[in-house]
């Protein structure tokens, strides 16, 4: 079997393990836990890329451990911008609360709406989200604004805004103005990170349009800094911090 060395931080020390390159990273982590070091801590569930639990970072990029094959010298880390609790495990409570900030749910069901296949496609991609939070970990805005609602919650918000069964989208649009759609720098890292091919960046652009339609405007314009400069240099706008 082809063995490769992978590295990770454990108890603040860099630790190296030898694992098979033919199995998935998740299988490798279990092999380590079962035969080498039982204290290695990570989150895992379905092994089939639907439960969204085993997202982590390899060489600075988000992957689902159950869908990634380890390579020589890989550096494994927990998701960024989450509260790291132990080894590769993070606490998702704070991040899940962004869904509450965005009020991302169906507010008032419209009894008379009759959906068509076309309506289904409007939210199909967004509702494919498995809540792995890779997009959140990849989003550079969190480096400067930890209160940002963030990509998956905004995608979820958009999924309900686009749902024709929703009587009024006002609640959601109102909820995503502060620390929401305008704080995004449209750098697109979330879109690259998503293992399910969802495009939060585009969803955020769409939500901006919806916001304008509801009478909101880009607060960045009103500061008098001239043309807002998104995405410069580091992929985020330092002035928003």
């Amino acid at each position: 079997m082809d063995k490769v060395l992978i590295k990770m931080m454990q108890n603040d020390k860099e630790t190296i393990y030898k694992v098979s390159s033919k199995q998935t990273l998740l299988a490798a982590l279990y092999e380590i836990k079962e035969t080498q070091n039982a204290s290695l801590t990570f989150n895992a569930g379905c092994r089939a890329s639907v439960c969204g639990t085993c997202a982590m970072r390899v060489n600075g990029r988000e992957v689902l451990a159950c869908a990634y094959k380890p390579k020589e010298g890989d550096f494994i880390e927990p998701l960024a911008y989450h509260t790291k609790v132990r080894d590769l495990k993070v606490d998702k409570r704070t991040t899940l609360d962004t869904l509450v900030k965005a009020k991302a749910w169906l507010h008032h069901y419209n009894e008379t709406t009759q959906l068509t296949p076309k309506d289904e496609y409007l939210t199909e991609r967004q509702s494919d989200c498995i809540m792995c939070e890779s997009c959140y970990s990849a989003c550079p805005v969190f480096a400067v604004n930890s209160n940002f609602i963030g990509p998956f919650a905004l995608t979820r918000a958009y999924r309900y805004v686009e749902d024709r069964r929703e009587k009024s989208t006002t609640y959601i649009i109102d909820a995503i103005q502060n620390n929401g759609v305008w704080d995004c720098t449209l750098c697109g890292e979330c879109t690259i990170a998503c293992p399910k091919g969802i495009d939060p960046k585009n969803d955020i652009v769409m939500l901006r349009t919806k916001s304008v339609q509801q009478g909101y405007s880009d607060p960045n314009f009103s500061f008098g800094f001239g043309t807002p400069d998104f995405g410069r240099d580091f992929g985020f706008d330092p002035s928003t911090g």
């Binding site: 204290s39 092994r47 639907v50 609790v85 899940l96 869904l99 749910w105 169906l106 309506d119 289904e120």
Partner: protein, 536 residues
């Protein structure tokens, strides 16, 4: 004091919590050992049965009929009637919450009539409502969003240790708080167990998550509940040999062959699931390796028809199904048995404690579950149990718990930490899975079952000789997995005994030594009662 405490954050638990809210319960909490949404429900793809008749003429009576037939005489007809007649309302309820069901064009002017339906095995018409290929995921996530809307409390990463039962009434629950590494006592007027099945017992031979370890069933069993129909474990014919990932029936539906190592076909690939499973198992027992062969379909056809499957096979088995046959084996994917409940879904011996979903035996599946009925069960019965549990709370006086149950639970956990560096317990998990798959698998007989019973009893007895290998109290994943294994080892002898007692073949339970169905002796449920130590 909580009104309703739900344990388990899958489809059954979330439906129950929302229904409790609708029924007027104020203080509701959902406890689960994993973060919410990390549940087996996400993996359900096929669909959810409801006789809407949107694509073909259908009737609730037909749905009832199909379900009873699949259950091979072991269904409770009244419960099946209840579930099937609740089905259209359950879909309507999900529709109102915002589940993105797949749609068809229609001229009728009513929302439900545009929901698309597909055919699943054993159904006489197209009856399963679905949301593309992610039915379970999308239902679960929509339910989760609603629980946040209504501010339902989440007890995050709480591992169920034991139910606190006094004089036959549930008083509360003991949990291991994984994040803080402490025992917690939660007092509630009523408790709903929605903790899922025990498929993970077949470690390395199941499509289930690692955590599907029957914790709720074990806790209820210890607290005096009966468990029933445990011998019925459903297998799926085509799991990937190395990784147990499920390859959907569509691969055979599109014309894939099942062959042995010589490339010879041995069964009609489109025969009913149990027939195919038995044929594969017979071959494997002869020492043959079984493959799913898709090569003759051609690259182009495969890429367009089964893109998801191709990706999974390439990733997990390191082979390209365009050029090589795929090694497969039948794997466990659903457990029909569980906590015995009455028609209100309450556990008869533990007042105020209810059970729903795969952990419960509501007797709607009997000896063999019909595809599309598991999602239906968790939603339809989840709603009912939430209401029933809420109604029950009106008759409960506020009462504190006198004894310090937590101390006993804490001592128990401390004991595990005494010598963590004994040999790793993980080898036992492997052995348990191997033992069950070989001896309590698709084809069983007296000899094998006795052997398995002996082996799991030994494993159970030897557990204390093994350590968890991790001395931290907080976020101790090894401890969680150890407790899971302990629960599985507690349930295993019970469920093997049930398989021993049922000396006949029925549905998912096949006895080589008793190959015929024997209605005269076995048209009944095998109920088991735990006589070990319990709190009180």
């Amino acid at each position: 004091m909580l009104d309703v405490l739900v344990i388990g954050s899958g489809g059954a638990g979330l439906s129950a919590a929302l229904a409790a809210k609708e029924a007027g319960a104020e203080h509701i909490a959902i406890a689960s050992k994993f973060p919410p949404m990390q549940t087996q429900t996400t993996m359900a793809q096929g669909g959810m049965n409801a006789a809407l008749g949107n694509l073909e003429k259908d009737h609730i009576a037909l749905h009832i009929d199909d379900t009873l037939k699949a259950g091979r005489g072991l269904c409770d007809e009244e419960m099946v009637r209840l579930m099937c007649s609740e089905a259209p309302q359950s879909v309507a309820w999900l529709e109102k919450l915002g589940v993105p069901f797949s749609r068809i064009k229609t001229t009728e002017n009513e929302a439900l009539s545009t929901i698309a339906q597909r055919y699943l095995g054993g159904a006489s018409v197209k009856r399963a409502c679905y949301a593309q290929d992610y039915t379970g995921l999308k239902i679960l996530h929509t339910l989760y969003d609603q629980t946040r809307k209504y501010n339902i409390i989440y007890l995050y990463e709480y591992f169920l240790l034991d139910l606190i039962v006094e004089d036959g009434y549930v008083r509360g629950v003991l949990f291991w708080d994984i994040a803080h590494g402490e025992v917690r006592t939660v007092i509630a007027k009523s408790v709903i167990l929605a903790t899922g099945g025990f498929g993970a017992m077949y470690h390395n031979h199941t499509t289930n998550m690692y955590g599907t370890s029957g914790d709720g069933i074990a806790a209820a069993f210890r607290a005096g509940a009966m468990i029933s129909d445990m011998e019925f474990v459903q297998f799926h014919p085509t799991g990937l040999y190395g990784s147990n990932i499920l390859i959907s029936e569509s691969a055979r539906g599109e014309g894939g062959y099942l062959v042995d190592q010589k490339g010879e076909r041995f069964v009609d690939e489109l025969a009913p699931r149990d027939v195919v499973v038995h044929a594969i198992y017979e071959q494997m027992n002869k020492g043959n390796r079984i493959y799913l062969d898709l090569r003759h379909l051609g690259k182009e056809k495969l890429e367009s028809l089964l893109p998801q499957e191709l990706a999974l096979i390439r990733l997990h088995e390191n082979i390209d199904p365009v050029f090589e046959p795929i090694p497969i084996k039948p794997v466990v994917h659903y457990t029909m048995g569980g906590i015995d409940i009455d028609k209100t879904m309450e556990i008869p011996t533990i007042k105020g404690c209810f059970a729903v979903g795969e952990c419960a035996n509501s007797k709607v599946h009997g000896a063999n579950r019909l595809g599309g009925n598991s999602l239906l069960e968790i939603i339809a019965f989840g709603r009912i149990v939430g209401e029933n549990a809420t109604n029950y709370t009106h008759y409960v006086r506020e009462k504190s718990i006198d004894k310090d149950y937590a101390q006993r639970a804490k001592d128990d956990i401390d004991n595990i930490f005494v010598d963590v560096h004994k040999p790793s317990f993980y080898s036992l998990r492997q052995k348990l899975g191997e033992c069950l798959y070989q001896n309590v698998g698709i084809i069983r007989d007296e000899f094998n079952l006795q052997q398995a019973l002996q082996e799991v009893t030994l494993l159970q007895a030897s557990l204390s000789k093994y350590g968890i290998g991790d001395s931290e109290f907080k976020h101790n994943q090894a401890l969680t997995e150890y407790l899971e294994l302990r629960n599985m080892l507690m349930l295993a002898p019970a469920f093997i005994s049930a398989a021993l007692v049922r000396q006949e073949s029925r549905g998912a339970h096949y006895r080589k030594d008793y190959p015929k169905m024997n209605d005269k002796a076995f048209l009944k449920h095998i109920r088991l009662h735990y006589q070990g130590e319990m709190y009180g």
